[in-house]
């Protein structure tokens, strides 16, 4: 409940009207062969028009599950997904249709997301004709050309009659974006959309997506494991850092990447490679107690991060789940150690390393 009011108050503080998508304490359980797991637990956030929200985290942190629930492809076990203030599972057919068309996904794998048997033109024309955005095939072809230009696939003639296998990974991913744009969506959920693309192509692909956001006002929910990409793409937006199904830190991008409070965020930021060796040397190094992500089937008690956390407080972190608490600068952090530092009036990044780890470092 506390958490609820915090998320809401931040929403009101920014005063940008109604969120397009609001996730309200969503949770998703799966029954796998290994046992019952909670892939996403109690995640809430608002997505405002024109926003960029990045979800970052390791594999298995539940980013994609959140994305699929936001897209209406997966039903939350608990909690609600609101689109323009309406619960998507209480919508009538027409409202749900509007929602479905307003939110599009760009998938991770450009080799699996395009049907190998259709030409690029077929792929782009189908939704245009089906939803009567274009009246004739010729008109749809023209519109498909415009969409291809929009995603920088020029000249259009080199693309429109091609099959996916004739294009490179980066080109396919552009096609994937163009296809998502056919229905003039308001939200694009980019699920690791650049992670399978060659590094040299990545920036230009990100620029294409930024162009869509700046020129067409498309809202982005961007999912990635790569903080360097977030730094480039979402400097003006928000980040939610996820760890085994929970959001552990949430706030403006510069604050989180530059000065993360949660130990996990700091460890992630420390892992961004820098081209400048001096910068790399001067960077904070954070030693984790363990590199293993806990199994989703047997999550640790208390804070899920405590077995890896260099700052864990014995008797507190391993027994009590830390709630998401508002920090003085407005961000939300779920960490007992940070919370205590703030209460003492210390710098939340100035935490005491656990004795055990200190001994270990001494020995080395």
């Amino acid at each position: 409940m506390l958490q609820d009011s915090i998320v809401r108050s931040e929403a009101n503080a920014t005063d940008r009207g109604e969120p397009i998508i609001r996730l309200d304490h969503i949770r998703r359980d799966f029954d796998t062969r290994g046992g019952h797991i909670t892939a996403v637990d109690d995640v809430s956030f608002d997505l405002f028009p024109g926003d960029i929200l990045c979800l970052v985290g390791e594999s298995g942190s539940g980013k994609t599950t959140v994305a699929r629930m936001a897209a209406g492809m997966l039903k939350p076990t608990r909690g609600h997904v609101f689109f323009e203030g309406k619960d998507i599972y209480e919508m009538n057919k027409e409202e749900f249709g509007n929602y479905r068309r307003a939110v599009q996904i760009v998938h991770q794998d450009p080799y699996a997301s395009l049907n190998p048997i259709h030409t690029i033109g077929d792929m782009l024309r189908a939704p245009l004709l089906k939803h009567k955005i274009c009246k004739s095939r010729a008109e749809a072809t023209k519109r498909a050309g415009e969409l291809l230009e929009m995603v920088d696939c020029r000249p259009v003639e080199n693309f429109i009659d091609k099959y996916p296998h004739q294009l490179s990974g980066g080109q396919r991913q552009r096609i994937s974006i163009a296809r998502a744009m056919t229905l003039n969506p308001r939200v694009i959920i980019a699920d690791e959309s650049v992670s399978m693309v060659d590094v040299s192509i990545r920036v230009s692909l990100l620029n294409t997506m930024l162009k869509l956001r700046n020129e067409l006002g498309v809202t982005f929910l961007f999912i990635t494991h790569d903080l360097a990409v977030v730094k480039y793409f979402a400097w003006e937006g928000n980040i939610g850092v996820m760890y085994v199904g929970k959001v552990i830190e949430y706030g403006r991008t510069p604050g989180i990447i530059g000065r993360g409070f949660h130990p996990y965020t700091r460890a992630l930021a420390a892992a961004i490679p820098e081209a400048d060796p001096d910068l790399t040397r001067s960077k904070e190094k954070l030693q984790l107690r363990s590199l293993d992500i806990p199994k989703l089937t047997e999550l640790p008690d208390g804070c899920v991060f405590h077995p890896r956390c260099p700052y864990w407080i014995q008797g507190l972190c391993d027994t009590t789940k830390p709630p998401l608490m508002r920090m003085p600068d407005g961000r939300l952090v779920a960490c007992h150690a940070v919370q205590q530092a703030v209460e003492r009036g210390d710098d939340p990044r100035d935490l005491a390393v656990t004795d055990q780890l200190a001994n270990q470092i001494m020995r080395e």
Binding site: R101, A112, N115, P116, H118, K130
Partner: protein, 298 residues
């Protein structure tokens, strides 16, 4: 400089001009082309051949198990009837009935299998139970029981009975394929674009398994041929008319296998059935090329 670029452009244009589609098909699919020729030959023989033969194939006592000659290219059978005449006349009904049965059972399998996979839930459960029930009952016995209840004298009934037993295996295969295909990201993308179930089924999912369906159609057809032969063999169908299946049965029962003179009587229909099935398989494999754009290019 400009002339140089122009000439480069020209040579590229010349290289890009592709040979006609059929030439590419032939050069890429030598076996497939051979299959098409054999299949065409069998079809012409069976459907047009009978017009060039006399109406009757008389029994001639003096010609029992006679050797091949100009008059009897494949010799004669145990009753002195021309074998070539029976071969030419014996394919039409067999091919038509098995093709029709395969068409119907493939249609049932695809529609119900794909729907079961896409819709899931109780529909999937009911379809699966039906499939398992039909699969559990041995085909031959089911055929036999059905044939015992229904007098099998019309080809349409025969088609129905063969189709009724032919669909379960393919249905399970189609269902499994669709289950895997529907998890693909391009299907999810189509769902996100709200393209509708029919478009997703017939334009996104099924074309990806067209070659698979074709091959299974051929299997269904061979299955129907076997089924017919079994029915003839068990005497559950009226033993009249010329038919390759019937010929095998007759030759076997009349002991042609044990008589050196009867070899052609037994071998000829078997060769025809084998050629038919083999050519069908080759054609199905070659058609895979046509459906796969990755292979379609030169």
């Amino acid at each position: 400089m400009s002339s140089a670029t122009a000439s480069v452009g020209n040579t590229q244009n010349q290289r890009i001009t592709p040979p006609p589609a059929w030439r590419r098909f032939v050069s890429r699919n030598k076996l497939g082309t051979f299959g098409i020729i054999v299949l065409a030959a069998i079809l012409i023989l069976s459907f047009i051949g009978p017009f060039f033969l006399p109406d009757k194939n008389p029994t001639t006592v003096s010609k029992i198990y006679c050797s091949p000659s100009w008059e009897n290219p494949l010799g004669c059978d145990n009753r002195g009837r021309d074998i070539w005449y029976q071969i030419v006349n014996g394919g039409k009904k067999l091919i038509l009935v098995s093709a029709a049965a395969a068409l119907i059972s493939t249609f049932i399998a695809i529609t119900l299998g794909a729907l079961a996979a896409l819709l899931g839930g109780w529909f999937d459960t009911v379809i699966l139970i039906c499939t398992e029930v039909v699969l559990t009952v041995p085909n031959i016995i089911l055929l036999g029981v059905l044939a015992a209840f229904v007098t099998l004298n019309s080809p349409i009934l025969m088609v129905m009975i063969l189709a009724a037993t032919g669909w379960p295996t393919l249905l399970r295969a189609v269902r499994a394929q669709v289950l895997s295909l529907k998890e693909r990201e391009f299907v999810e993308a189509a769902r996100m674009l709200d393209l509708g179930l029919p478009r997703i089924l017939f334009r996104e999912v099924l074309p990806n398994m067209a070659s698979y369906i074709l091959i299974n159609f051929v299997f269904a057809m061979t299955g129907a041929i076997y089924g017919q032969v079994v029915l003839y063999f068990l005497g559950l169908v009226s033993l009249s008319g010329d038919n390759w299946g019937l010929m095998v049965n007759e030759a076997y029962r009349q002991g042609a296998a044990f008589s050196p003179d009867g070899v052609l009587y037994l071998i000829s229909p078997i060769v025809m059935i084998v050629l038919l099935m083999w050519s069908l398989t080759l054609v199905a494999r070659a058609l895979e090329d046509v459906f796969n754009p990755r292979l379609r290019e030169a």
